[in-house]
């Protein structure tokens, strides 16, 4: 389904998420697993940090020459008998894909997981044209039958537990015996496999994303663990690859620099089970494979990002590590972010794609702890980019008035040191009166949004400046300020 934008209601979404015991249990269960698996995989690869630098440099080089690599990629796909379609925006990408399906009289389209397909909302569009989209990644299949959207870019059903999946399968798979045993997760997997096997064989068109596009050979590289992208692209009459323009790398070797950090960052695997280089339609002597091969190259605002501060975001390889390590994501889950891309990467991308007017709340969904930047395999300075949006938001006067006045007051005081010190000291006294006994506040005037789900630490002593002066006088500062 296409995702309705609820990003402007982030606060409301987050409050509801925090109060949802089922979601909280699912997040608590999944989060630590991702962190541990990534850590273990990286511990076994001493070259991991060098690979990160390498991939960052490859991506920077490719982006700086993106026009030329796009041309080369297009030429190579054509030589192999495929077609390349450029789409300026989501609407055009939807038209192109639906047009190919209609020309082939397609009734069903199998899909492997693709966040870009969520970004353009292709499923609703296909359905409106009388074409049935069938999600085949297990997690995507589960959320499709629930009428939901993914809550994580690599683990779309991370917000659900096994019992919910069992209930959905019983509700939807009505052709199976009602008294069947679905207690074991393997039984659920086997049931989904059986249901989808027929869909794979019957599909007219297969739609996949691409993790990487290789300019040198015109290959679309698609990575899965389930094998669903391979059945999706091998069996139907046509394979459509939907990929955004920043997925390009120059060469096959470059693709492997990226793949070496991708699986480790995402799932802690050395290599995903299936890494497929799709290089065009079925050849003359091939007994299988799609008769047509199409690549839809989506821009949707990305080319404009190339020229500004957000350029670095275009290195993102969609590994999900930033959300797996984000305290905000781990507390509220992906749906609270209110559009397709959640977590730190989503908070940077969403305002660029749906507009700062709708996405203004997301850059504030950060504690600026910096863990996202620490783990990002392509070294995207996510906190810096979030600050960029906060700045924009402030300048565009979209910040709620109390915050704006508060910041202006602070700026005025900070510029006028003689006022700043007494004013902060006064505020400090007032705060410590509130939180005197416990060292934290369970509630605080004007900050109910903060204290409803966590305590606000109470200042225990004087202001930083006052402490600094006192310690300096006593000779206990470990470093002296620059003269």
């Amino acid at each position: 389904m296409s995702v309705a934008i609820t990003s402007p209601e982030f606060k409301q979404n987050a409050t509801e998420a925090l109060a949802d015991p089922q979601l909280q249990a699912a997040l608590a269960k999944a989060g630590p697993g991702f962190v541990g698996k990534r850590r273990d995989a990286i511990a076994k690869l001493p070259e991991f940090d060098a690979l990160r630098d390498s991939v960052r440099d490859i991506k920077n080089h490719t982006l700086a020459h993106l026009d030329l690599y796009l041309e080369r990629f297009e030429e190579k796909v054509r030589e192999a008998g495929g077609q390349v379609h450029f789409a300026v925006d989501a609407a055009e990408a939807r038209e192109i894909i639906t047009g190919i399906c209609q020309r082939l009289d397609a009734r069903t389209v199998t899909k492997s997981k693709s966040m870009v397909s969520e970004e353009i909302g292709i499923n609703d569009h296909l359905a409106a044209a009388g074409i049935t989209p069938v999600e085949t990644d297990l997690g995507e299949y589960i959320i499709q039958i629930r009428g939901e959207s993914p809550s994580h870019i690599i683990a779309p059903a991370i917000h659900l537990n096994k019992d919910q999946v069992e209930a959905d399968f019983r509700r939807v798979h009505t052709d199976l015996p009602a008294d069947r045993d679905l207690v074991e997760p393997t039984a659920l997997l086997a049931e989904a496999r059986g249901e989808l096997r027929q869909r794979f064989l019957a599909a007219d068109v297969g739609l996949t994303g691409a993790n990487v596009l290789v300019a040198e050979t015109g290959a679309a590289v698609i990575v899965t663990n389930e094998g669903n992208a391979d059945l999706t692209q091998t069996l139907p009459k046509a394979h459509i690859v939907l990929a955004s323009i920043e997925k390009l790398v120059p060469t096959l070797e470059d693709a492997h620099q990226l793949l070496r950090v991708l699986a480790r960052s995402a799932s802690g695997q050395d290599m995903s089970v299936y890494t497929t280089f799709a290089c065009g339609p079925r050849r003359a002597l091939d007994p299988d494979g799609p008769g047509e091969f199409h690549v839809v190259l989506l821009d949707n605002g990305r080319s404009a990002m190339l020229g500004g501060t957000l350029k670095e975001m275009l290195r993102c390889i969609r590994c999900g590590a930033c959300m797996n390590h984000c305290p905000v994501y781990q507390s509220v889950g992906g749906h609270a972010y209110g559009w397709v891309y959640p977590g730190p990467m989503g908070s940077v991308l969403t305002p660029a794609m749906i507009g700062i007017d709708k996405g203004a709340n997301l850059p504030n969904a950060s504690t600026f702890c910096g863990r996202c930047e620490e783990v990002c395999p392509v070294r995207i300075p996510l906190p810096k980019l979030l600050r960029h949006w906060r700045q924009q938001e402030f300048e565009r006067h979209l910040t709620p008035a109390p915050q704006r006045y508060g910041l202006k007051l602070w700026a005025f005081l900070a510029r006028n040191g003689w006022l700043y010190r007494p004013a902060t000291r006064l505020a400090m006294r007032a705060l410590s009166l509130f939180g005197r006994d416990k060292g934290r506040f369970a509630s605080m005037p004007l900050a109910g949004g903060w204290t409803a789900t966590r305590d606000f630490p109470a200042p225990e002593g004087d202001t930083f400046q006052a402490q600094w002066r006192a310690r300096k006088a006593a000779g206990t500062t470990s470093r002296s300020p620059a003269p």
Binding site: F34, D67, L68, L189, F200, L201, P250, D288, G289
Partner: protein, 230 residues
């Protein structure tokens, strides 16, 4: 339907505007051509940079670690017998589907006459598929397979059991070495329709992030490793 020329031009013009370039700067073109021609390897982990025998042991360990199973056979003559043993210990029908690969055709099938061998792509009804790998990659225990009549791609994904013959001499250290061999095999740059890198049997962790084997692809991946490293 193809995109209107204007969409292509619009996207490329927008990229160039953002980068502050035209399409005509010679140094940019030269840099791109040089990179494509030299395809530098980048950072290659030391893990698999080993003498042949140890490299082969690493391949075996990594393949088993990815939940593949493996028989190491002294020669290709032993393959039919090993397949017969695999099928019977798992109570599978003594039947398999393979492609036209001459290396598979040349196996002494008469040594295991009980196996019924069919040739062609899969339509999903055959429980066992047999392929011949182009290469194995020691770094991650990965198999490299080409599409085509010799080894139809459907055999990699539709059967429950995928059996793959891999010659020990084709086990290389890393992906980069495998691509060098691919380039040598296809000097005109026209690659097979699909190149599949496969690292273990199919799996999913989408239900409560618990890893389960046997998602949409094969439930078992069995490597028939043949011979000694060259």
């Amino acid at each position: 339907m193809t995109s209107t020329p204007s969409s292509r031009d619009t996207v490329l013009a927008s990229v160039r505007r953002a980068l502050g370039v035209t399409s005509r700067e010679a140094p940019r073109r030269q840099e791109v051509e040089a990179r494509l021609a030299s395809h530098p390897a980048g950072v290659i982990p030391a893990r698999a940079q080993l003498p042949p025998a140890e490299r082969l042991e690493l391949f075996k360990a990594m393949a088993l670690g990815a939940a593949s199973s493996l028989d190491h056979l002294a020669s290709a003559a032993e393959v039919p017998g090993a397949i017969a043993a695999y099928l019977s210990t798992r109570d599978l029908p003594l039947k398999l589907l393979r492609g036209a690969d001459p290396r598979l055709a040349a196996l002494p099938w008469s040594s295991a006459p009980q196996i019924d061998v069919w040739i062609g792509p899969s339509d999903g009804r055959q429980p066992v598929g047999l392929s011949h790998a182009f290469a194995g990659i020691a770094e991650s225990g990965t198999l490299v397979l080409f599409s085509g009549a010799d080894n139809p791609t459907t055999l990699n994904f539709l059967p429950d059991h995928h059996l793959v013959v891999l010659e020990a001499k084709d086990v290389v250290a890393d992906y980069e070495t495998a691509w060098a061999r691919v380039r040598a095999q296809f000097p005109d740059g026209q690659l097979p329709r699909a190149i599949n890198m496969i690292t273990g049997p199919s799996r999913s962790a989408d239900i409560e992030q618990t890893l389960l084997l046997g998602a949409h692809g094969p439930r078992s991946l069995h490597v028939l490793l043949v011979g000694a490293p060259s």
